[in-house]
Symmetry: D2
Subunit: 453 residues, 4 copies
């Protein structure tokens, strides 16, 4: 256990209190090791540029920090109870290894802006993974939409049979929903992409820090300017990010809810491959799609992370408040959950097959009532009268050729005009944007390791 930065003389925090205050946080802080060290390298380089470190000192710091990173990544150094946090741990280790420069590296910053930078970098790494998984899931949905464009499927409203639809329309609906969720995801990415380093405890410093330099080195799009706002954005930007993840899980949850309904033995519209199913400890016959149940549930898990971060930071006075610490756990868990959920959602869609025979059988005559009314409309009967006329003779409705019927809905977004190709083109554009952003960030991170004069 290393000593705390602020401990003097014989002061000691009660152990129960320390446990309460830092317990699980220590473990979480470990996830930021890479981000913390990259932040310190950039900060150190900037300090050397404004004359607070010599170029030699910077090189020692860089070397020492990269070694410490390796020690942590290989498990040779570990955060433990009593270590306070990752920042203190790294500072102390650096002082042990590289001497004086360890005592200088914290110049011009506070743990307040340091943890902010760490969380932004961590979030960026995770969001890039999530963004990629998100695009893959859309891709898989669109491929299924294309493959099953002409597979008839009853459309439901109020959980009752309503009008003819298709498996293609069903797959496609989730793809478009996720396309819209990209808008919130990218807005969240953008808000996260600003560098708080140099805001210090929330009020800046009297040192001539070059904040634009550190922002650039760390791959941020801009500096988060007003120093107090940097702190006040804690909870705020995390909320925007978590809300974007909630949106993704909203889409996934609806998909999972449908899958569970449509795979009941009463519906049998879809089949989920055995490699995704589990059994029962008491009933020998059971085959359950637990995966879809857990995906249905995750939207609530994610939403509780959002509300935890949000409610815990709303109503706080300006400036840093320790309450912020409680945002870390739900934020980290949320980012990890989204990444994992998107990946297994891809697997669910990949291993989901329409049961075309059952779907066709389910295309019963009442589904065509509206189309029958429209036939009358096209003969000049006002719709409301046609509607009433059909309503009085529902028993005369006949089963139609479902395939033909799908093709008759030719307007934009109808079963006969789903525009999947156009969606695939849009997806390619999205992917190009993603790849460019991914490269930009990765390059910045790599450059930090070899930064030199």
């Amino acid at each position: 256990m290393v000593h705390k930065l602020w401990e003097k003389k014989g002061e000691k925090l009660l152990k129960d209190v320390e446990l309460f205050e830092t317990g699980s946080d220590i473990e979480l802080d470990g996830k930021f090791a890479q981000d913390d060290i990259m932040g310190s390298i950039a900060h150190g380089y900037m300090l050397s540029k404004i004359g607070i470190l010599s170029s030699e000192e910077f090189k020692d710091a860089q070397k020492g920090l990269l070694e410490i990173l390796k020690l942590i990544e290989t498990g040779k150094e570990k955060l433990e109870f009593g270590d306070e946090d990752i920042h203190t741990k790294v500072e102390n280790l650096l002082t042990e290894r590289a001497g004086q420069v360890g005592k200088k590296i914290h110049t011009g910053r506070s743990r307040n802006d340091q943890v902010l930078v760490d969380m932004r970098l961590y979030a960026k790494r995770k969001l890039l993974n999530i963004w990629g998984e998100h695009l893959d899931l859309i891709d898989e949905l669109l491929l299924n939409a294309q493959k099953y464009t002409s597979a008839p499927m009853p459309g439901y409203t109020h959980m009752q049979k309503a009008m003819p639809s298709s498996a293609g329309m069903w797959f496609g609906s989730f793809a478009e929903s996720l396309m819209d969720s990209l808008v919130t995801l990218k807005a969240a990415y953008e808000l996260n992409d600003q560098c708080p380093l140099g805001s210090a405890a929330a009020y800046g410093t009297t040192l001539p820090l070059d904040r634009e330099l550190t922002a650039r080195l760390l791959g941020f799009k801009k500096v988060q300017s007003n120093a107090l706002y940097s702190q006040n954005s804690r909870g705020k930007i995390e909320s925007v990010i978590l809300f974007a993840l909630v949106q993704q899980l909203f889409d996934i949850s609806k998909l999972a809810t449908d899958v569970l309904l449509f795979t009941t033995s009463e519906f049998q519209f879809f089949k989920v491959d055995d490699c995704l199913c589990t059994g029962s400890s008491i009933m020998p016959q059971k085959k359950n799609v637990d995966l879809a149940e857990l995906l249905r549930s995750k939207v609530h898990v994610m939403e509780s992370y959002l509300s935890q971060v949000f409610n815990g930071t709303a109503n706080l006075p300006s400036g840093y408040n320790r309450d912020f610490q409680d945002t870390k756990k739900p934020f980290i868990e949320g980012l990890e959950l989204a990444e994992q959920s998107l990946r297994v959602s891809y697997l669910l869609v990949h291993h989901l097959t329409p049961n075309e025979a059952a779907l066709k059988k389910a295309m019963t005559p009442e589904l065509y009532a509206t189309a029958a009314a429209y036939d009358l409309v096209q003969k000049g009967v006002p719709f409301r009268e046609a509607y009433q006329q059909i309503g009085l003779h529902l028993d005369e409705l006949q089963k139609c050729d479902a395939d033909e019927m799908l093709k008759k809905s030719t307007h934009l977004g109808g079963t006969g005009n789903l525009l999947i190709d156009k969606r695939l083109q849009e997806l390619e554009k999205e992917r190009a944007q993603y790849v460019a952003e991914h490269r930009r960030f990765t390059n910045a991170m790599n450059a930090l390791e070899t930064l030199t004069y």
Copy 2:
């Protein structure tokens, strides 16, 4: 009371049930009258273009609908218990006034896509007001930030005095926070800006609807393509909008929390004009800033609207479900609350004056401890040692010239370099974008009234 569209023979809904199902909804639907009628004009025009209405019929419909709108706006027609909803009411009134075309106007749509269009148009109108108020609030904050750039003020962390700050930094922090909230607001506006008309009950129709035409007439940026997704986006897009409003109130709530703390008789950092204060029924001496208390609270009101919409629609199967109806009330109330809250927040900021004497008096020596450490740093002492040295001699710290101290923080975003002018320039760009969008929408709405062949 008009008859319900689907009522036949002697079927009657139990009165208790009807009350439960439509109660407050009828009143809310009245707010959509304008939107519903504009939607019907656009839809009718399109129907005439694809040959379902004659051009005469369209003109009759347009005339009749505009008259009905006037009747509703002047209170001569009112939605009442038993009317089911605004759509049925208008259709029935139109049939009364214009005959056959009333029975034809619903051709090719469902109340499902109709209410969606209404809500999108209503949201647009409200969001444009909100967007404007949002910009005004930023403006007022920046003007104050500029005015009080050099007014010293203690900066707090953990609610304890930390480092020197300024009233300018404090005002500016909220301006920047609201600048970031514009990103979520505009993303929400964009997602709302797609036209669901023509998706019908969720599965399109067998009629050759020209969805691009109606979208264009109604001023939408694009068609919401996949018909099923249009319905599945209920709850989703409302959530994105409400979350953007939650973000605004998050900023406002923090401002209000600070105002309440800083206007206590113990702090006395700010004064709120009497025209915003209220008294007590029992204590003759009281002067309370109730406005700030209610603004502190509203973030939770808004968040509950969000959670109501969100949780009520997550986990629903695909397609229309009546649960959607419960999204209307929180959605409408949320939009109205945001508009009102932004306006009075402007008033609060406008009538808020720093008490410069009290602020200066509060600039006690301990605020300069870090600056003192940095002085040692600039003499070559490693920061961690400087920090410890100062820590051991806190009682020797001296009151500094606060004005001078503020100027010494020259890095980007520090008290001496708040960049308010740059922010004001950015605001002007934002305002130009807003004005253009406002004009685009207003023009589209006006054009519908005079649409002709």
Copy 3:
């Protein structure tokens, strides 16, 4: 518009601000008229007992207050924008009608404790209605459980067929769930049943108020003692009440979810009477159980009321804060919603009929796999081996006599031993407790009208 109690000289609140601060509150306050006036009568009587009012003055006040109540109830006096609140309105009206005593009636209290009393009395009235509806719903469920005890029905886990169950077990499960919800409801009733009157603004007064007397007159079980706690319980007790209502809607929502699933054309397990169904504007064939959809949704509406009240009051400093005002609307709407939802839930259960033929047909062989394993167990095969053996020969399972199978589950709570009679007896005891409490409260209220020396 009457003048505000604290207005002096030319002070005026900005109109936008007043609108923001009291807008919908005025309308809500009207709901407390009866409670406010009963509170004032009790308070006045106590003041006369401690010598602040003469007995004549009390009689004038009592007479005047009862007249004012009648005027409000018959709509001859109305709260309007500008009236501030019900308390000010009534005080001013009383002064107009009864002179001096109007200026004395507020002695020894604050609007802070007055609104608390009003809300407690209002809540009590509503909770008594809710409690009664709650018992009726359990009753109807138990009667159905009894009637359909031997109607076989597949039991599901993971939404897949699992084991034999019965319609009786299904109805009974909701009855027992609601029995448990009574525990939280009664705990909430108990916490609400304490009198805050006399706590004044939150710190009591220097007058020798007899708080036990007013508590007794108003039918409260006890005085809420510590004056500061009375205020601090705002939000807290409302939350406990709203949570109890959330519990009820949790039960109802699950019932509604099942009804919607089991009335799909794919399941057809239950039929809902036409008097509860609605149609579609576009599809002539539709018959939807909208009622169940809205009941499924209401749990989220209620939960958002709870979160609004809860989050809006958590983290407030001690004592009255104006934020409390925002608890009124969700609290009132929550109580009204619960009452209404319970009533229509009763109707839903009343008009719900198992389709016994469809249920029997659905009793397919795989439901008996576990019973088959148990047959082997009873022949001495260890369960895990029996389970595996059956699992390998699922295709040999046979359709059993479902009626016989139900009877074979004889353990407590099994299909053959549901103990409905015992539940009905427990319900009778609950009803007796309810009736006694209802009478106690009604008697107290009536006595206030005729209170004399």
Copy 4:
């Protein structure tokens, strides 16, 4: 890794999916080891009584299970990825150690009722700790209330000075709030105190299980009767428990909020002992009450656990759904958090000292305005006139003898009549009830280890 109970032939769950499904659950399940094994001993004993196990087999099972418990408690057996859950792990270990009886122990139960029993027993253990800590915290608050009964302290409304109060009233208010929170805590304890064992997968079994025997052996107050309700109560009873914990943290959060306000250098009303304070990495002078900040925050953490459990289970169809699994983590974390928070809250209260000099100094004249009005009232001036008269001459108000003033508020719950002794007596009764319940449960658990014929 042991094999899964339902795995046959070559079926294999995809690894990504298995990770997603069981990841952190495995770790959580370890917390139930003791509960799972006690449940199995009771179940085994019952099976021997109804002839499914021989008495020898029961003894082998009991011995084996207790050994397995010891192995797990000492870390010699550990749940790992691939183990599915604690139930499967224990069953497999028992089969390894004790042979045939391992294959029989699952007779007549499902993992569905088994995990329910585990969670109920776990919750009981934790709730008993929490209940005890809760009483200790009240005790400490009452002792402080008693000690500082006559220490004057300004009372606030709207965060502005309002009327005279005392440190005793302040401490006492939290004690009474927590007394009320005991009502919800005990209601939650009661609902948790019913035994679901024997409900199996949700539909009971065809075996003659003696459910009353197992309930009694495990120390439950009653059997949870209807088998389906047992499953349907998942999420419900956990919610009731978590809500009770939310109530506790509501009280604690308000206390912490006050502490943070009252320990600012502007107020200085209280002092927190250094053993609870922490420092800053950048500002040498800082001394922060982080503990209070984190306690202020925890109410939101707890509330998010509640909403996660609640929203994740509302709207699910009847019977077991895998979504239930996601209730475990927030439920366990919530119980642990409450226990820990109560303990450190005790420390906070214990180490909190009123700064009597500062408090006295803060008793400024405006606090006495209402008392001055009451002086006029007692001379016959109607209150409303007295109020106005004082309001016009606020500057003539004089500083009073605060000690005297406190004594003048003699009504029940006023500063001169706080009834702390009565509260202490009530607390003793509560403690006696707690101790009895604690003993009852501990005895039941101990008896299971030595259960014999």
